[in-house]
Symmetry: C2
Subunit: 294 residues, 2 copies
């Protein structure tokens, strides 16, 4: 491959180290220890692993971690009551309800029950709206991670053509808003886009967030483009095993792009680091302190 | 000119007529008369005219109009207290504070004081976020007007390339969200875009919202494109007179486009009509009734 590898390992480690340093400063100067509450309903194995990793990383960064594990049959009312208690708890600065929640619970009701100021997942419409309006917002973690990785290879993004493939509330739309705020010319493409390869070939920055294994081929990449692959797709790898691949055909694209994120080891590693950064930011804002630059 | 003229006069009249018919139905079936409160601080001549026109159109459509004219020296606290009363008033379903407010008042504080459910200007971050998240939202009036006009010449927009020039919270960004929800491939261009003419030439739908007289030239328009001109610029017309022109060089563009809105007589006429539609929608939603399709 000829492209620079944008390696999530050192970049996420650097973000975590900065969070830890800022947290230590907050504790020393203001007696403030940011607290993150993670709520898990049910026993989905993947979610259980995610929640465990988040808790571990939170403590390693010197933040306070609160885990709330509720049984699968928890009612929506019980979950909302817990969220109300966490909203009112001054030691809790960030609240994350691990999604998906069981089908009998309305996830939109859960998202909107979290105080926007503690919404470290950035999914509350108030935070989407703040982001869209250029106000101080808590921004979803994966899009923040994408921007971080991008800036390691290209600190100034103004004037670049960015194409975001995918328009989810979790990734595509907030990534587009972040790139617009960086003064990119931003195109949002999706399943209804005509001639998607041609649209992708316009991109100086190509962000793939579609959830379809290796959908974006090498010849969809403009020579010299920076490729950010948000996809994490589990596919069969023979002998009953599986492996993770992205939304971009990595080997092909790495011959054309100037820089590219791998899967695994790319954007996926940034999510927890950015969650910690969001918790720090939420705690600072709640205390009336300036948000630390991470 | 060879393009179809998208004439704001009959289109806005049709919207107003639909609002009036739906309002009559609401009154008959549910005893509900939607009420719009418009608040004007100070005596800016243009704002005074706008407010008068809004009040007149509101009554003509069979809605209830409340006008609150406050002196220039009104404090922010007094204005916020009025908004709080209007938020609590069950006969008021929509609240519009005419912008700009005097410099000693924080307009963002005013916008965010309005209940999102009564925010018929659609400027509250909660409504921007609802729009961005695909939830039921009150959407700013001018973007709604653009979409209406567009659909008179092209009811199905899915798969079309749309380019929105301008990224204001009032027009550019919400227009982009509406076009994305219609399944267009949407590009947001702006002052930092490189080679803006080339980006515009990609557009099947070109929306100009930059506030610069005749900035977009005829050769920026793709043959057959639909051009929506949101600009309303007052320029000298000789002998001490002025006239209104758009952001698009109309005569040039009308030779290339398949359809185009004029200035004046285009998008500008839609704003009040869409404000009435928003008031009707807000009243319906507050009463737990389905939002009428306008």
């Amino acid at each position: 491959m000829s492209a620079t590898l944008i390696d999530g390992k050192p970049i996420s480690a650097a973000v975590k180290a900065k969070v830890a340093a800022e947290a230590a400063r907050l504790a020393r100067d203001h007696g403030l220890v940011p607290g993150l509450a993670v709520v898990l309903v049910g026993e989905d194995p993947a979610s259980t692993v995610y929640v465990r990793n988040k808790g571990k990383a939170t403590i390693e960064a010197g933040l306070r971690s609160f885990e709330h594990k509720l049984p699968e049959h928890t009612s929506e009312a019980e979950l909302l009551a817990l969220i109300a208690r966490l909203n009112a708890d001054p030691t809790v600065h960030g609240i994350l309800v691990q999604l998906p929640v069981p089908a009998h619970i309305d996830s939109q009701a859960v998202i909107q029950a979290i105080s926007p100021d503690k919404d470290v997942d950035g999914l509350h419409p108030m935070n989407s709206g703040r982001l869209a309006s250029g106000l101080a917002a808590l921004v979803p973690c994966t899009p923040l991670g994408c921007l971080h990785m991008l800036k390691t290879v290209r600190p100034q993004l103004a004037g670049l053509e960015a194409v975001v493939v995918g328009r989810s509330n979790l990734v595509g739309k907030p990534v587009a808003q972040l790139l617009l705020a960086e003064n990119c010319t931003v195109t949002i493409a999706h399943s209804r886009t005509r001639d998607l390869p041609a649209v992708c070939r316009r991109a100086d920055i190509l962000v793939a967030a579609v959830g379809r294994p290796e959908m974006l081929r090498g010849d969809w990449v403009k020579p010299g483009a920076i490729v950010i692959d948000v996809g994490i797709n589990r596919v069969p790898a023979g002998e009953g095993k599986t492996r993770l691949i992205g939304d971009v055909a990595f080997a092909e694209a790495a011959e054309i792009a100037s820089a590219i994120t791998p899967v695994p080891g790319g954007v996926g590693l940034m999510t927890v680091a950015c969650l910690l950064a969001n918790t720090l930011k939420a705690a600072s804002m709640q205390a009336g302190l300036p948000a630390p630059q991470i």
